[in-house]
Amino acid sequence: MSGHPSTYEPKYAPTKWLDKRLPIIRMGADFMTYPSPRNLNYWWTFGGILTLCLMTQIITGIILAMHYVPHVDLAFESVQRIKRDVPFGWLIQPMHAVGASMFFFAVYIHMFRGLYYGSYKAPREMVWLFGCVIYLIMMATGFLGYTLPWGQMSFWGATVITGFFGAVPVVGESLQQWLLGGFAVDNPTLNRFFALHYLLPFVIAALVGLHVWAMHHAGQNNPIGIEPKSKKDTLAFHPFYTVKDAFAVGVFLLVFAFFVFYQPDALGHADNYIEADPMKTPEHIVPEWYFLPFYAILRAVPDKLMGILLMVAAIAVLFILPWLDTSKVRSMRFRPVTRRWFILFVIACFILGWCGAGNPDDIAIPFGEDKGITFLLLARVATAFYFAFFLLILPIMGMIEKPKERPESITKAVLGGAE
C-alpha cells in the first residue's frame, strides 16, 4: 500500500504460498509497521474513530434494514416495532441514530484538524479531496437516512431539500420530479431514498480506502507540519498509535454510550416522533444539528436560488482550499496571525450553527427592549466571514504573514522543548 520497505516475512507454507500470489497479509503487516510521525497528538486519533463510526453505522444499519419497511403507511410503525418488539432493537436503533451524530461530530473535528495543521497542502491534496468527497456523500447519506423514519421532520425536511432542485433555472422542475419520482415527496421517494441510503455507506467505505491509500502514499502530516526526515522522526503505527487510538476510541465510546443509553433523543427533534402528515406543515422545519451551519448560509440571502448557490459554494470552496492557501507553512502553530483568524473561523461556524437553529427574524443578541441583532443579520456577517476566510484571508495571509521560526525536524522539536 505504501512506499516504506516491507519487513514482513511469511513463516508458514500456506502464508508463503499466498504471499507469492496475493500479498494481502503483507499489506496488513505493512500497514501495522507504517512509519508515523512521532509527534502526532490526539487530534490525529479521529481518523481511527471515524473508521469505527462507519463500521458501526453499516452494521447497525444492516440490522435495521432487516426490519424496516420502506412504505409511507408502514415506515413510522416499523421503526416503533423495531424499538418495541425486535430483540435488542431498542439498542440498535438509537445506536444508529446517535451514531450518525457522533459520526458528524468526529468528522468536523477531523476536518478542523486538517485545516489547522495544513494537512491539505502539497503533497496531500488528494487526501483532502477524497475527504471532501467523503464528507459530501456523508451529508447525502445523513439526509436520506433522516427521511426513512417518516416523521414530520423527515417528510418536511425532504420536501424542503428536494425543493432546492426546483429552483435550478429551466430544468429545475423536471429535475425535482425526477428525483422525487413524482410531484411531491411520496412512496416512490421513500423507496429510492432507502435504496440510496443503503448504497452510499459502501461508496464511502471505498472512498475511505482511497483516502487512506493517498495518505499512506504521501505520508502523514503532523502537528508541526515538518516532514519526517530521518527514522528517528517516526514510530511504527503499531503499537504506538494503535494504543493511542484505542485509548481515544475508549473516551469517544464513553460519550457515545452516554447518549445512546441516557439521552437517545437529545440530538434529534421531537417532531420526528409525529408521523409524517403531508397536510400539516410543522411550525419550524429545522434540519439535523450537523446541517445547521449550511442551513444558515442558505437562508442568509433573500433569493432562493442565490441561497442554494451560496450553500453549494460553502462546500465547493473546501475542494479548492489547497490552491487558495498560498502559505508554504503548514501548521498554524507557526502562523501567529492566521491562527487567530482560524479561531475566529471556528467561532463563525458555531455562530452559523446557532443561526441555523434560530428563526431568522428573531433577535439573537438583544440590546435593550425589542432591539438587537437578528439571526438573519448575524448569519449574514458569519457567512461573509466564512467565505472571506477562504477567499481572502488564506490567500493574502500566505503572502504577507511572517511565519515563526520552525524547528529543523520533528526530533528536534520533540527534544528541543518546542511545543
Partner: protein, 278 residues
Amino acid sequence: MRNVFKTAIIGTLALAGVGVGGLMAANAAGGSSDYKMKHMHWHFDGWRGTYDRAAMQRGYQVYREVCASCHQLKYVAFRHLGDKGGPYYDDHYPNPNDNPYVKAFAADWTVEEVDLDTGDIIERPAIPADMFPPIYPNAAAAAASNGGAVPPDLSVMVKARTGGADYVYNVLTSYDKDDNYMNKAMGIKIAMANPLSDGLVEYADTEYTDKDGKVHIIKAPEATVDQMAKDVTEFLAWAADPKMEQRKSLGLATMLYLLILTILLWFSYKAVWRNVEH
C-alpha cells in the same frame, strides 16, 4: 501530559457547544406563551430512574376510563403491559401472555376480526397478543366527533412534544377554570375539552408481589386532577419508551465496562510510550 489536559478541555468545550446548540435547536420549537411550564420530578428521571409501578397502574386506569374514549395507543400491545419494565410485570409470568392481569385487561376490550367461515366482520374480546384497537373507524369519524380535530395517538406522545412528560402533565392541568377548551400550556383553545375533573375515577389500592412472594399494598391516593394527570403521564411515558429500564441498566454496565477499559488503555498507552519522547 499538558497536551492531554489541553485536548481534554478543548474536547469537553466542543462537546458542550454541540450540546447547547442541540438544546437550543430543540427549544426553538417550544411554545411561546406567558404560561410557565411546571417542571416535575418524575420517578423515571435521571440515570437510575425507573417507572413508578403503582403510578403506571393507576395511569393505565385513567387511560382506560378517560382518554381511551378518544385516543388510541396503536403501537402498544396488551402483552407489553406485562413486559419487563411495564406496569404489570410479574416475575412469576416471564411470558406476559400468561399474566392474569394482562389477560383480564385485554379481555376488557373488543377487537374486530374476520370470521373465516362466513367472511363477516365479528367482534371478540382481545387477547394479550392484540394491539390496542382503534377508537374510531377512521380519521374522518374521529374528526367528526371532536369538532374537526383528530385526537392524536398517545403511544409516543411523551416523545413527540418538546418538554416530554412535563408537557403532557402541563396540558392536562392547565385548563382555564372558566373555559373548558382554553389550554394555558398550549396557549390556545384546543379541540380537547378538559378531560379530567376531581374524583373522575375511583382509585383502588394497587398491589404487587415481589420476588420473595411478599405482597405489597400501595394505598390509593385521592383522585385529584393533579394526581390523575401525574399518573396517566407516568403511564404514557412508559408507553413511549417501554425499554427505558433495560436501556438504563445495560447502560450502567456498558459505561462501567468502557470506563475500566479506557483506564486500562490509558495505562497501556503510558507503558508503550514510556521511553518515547513525543
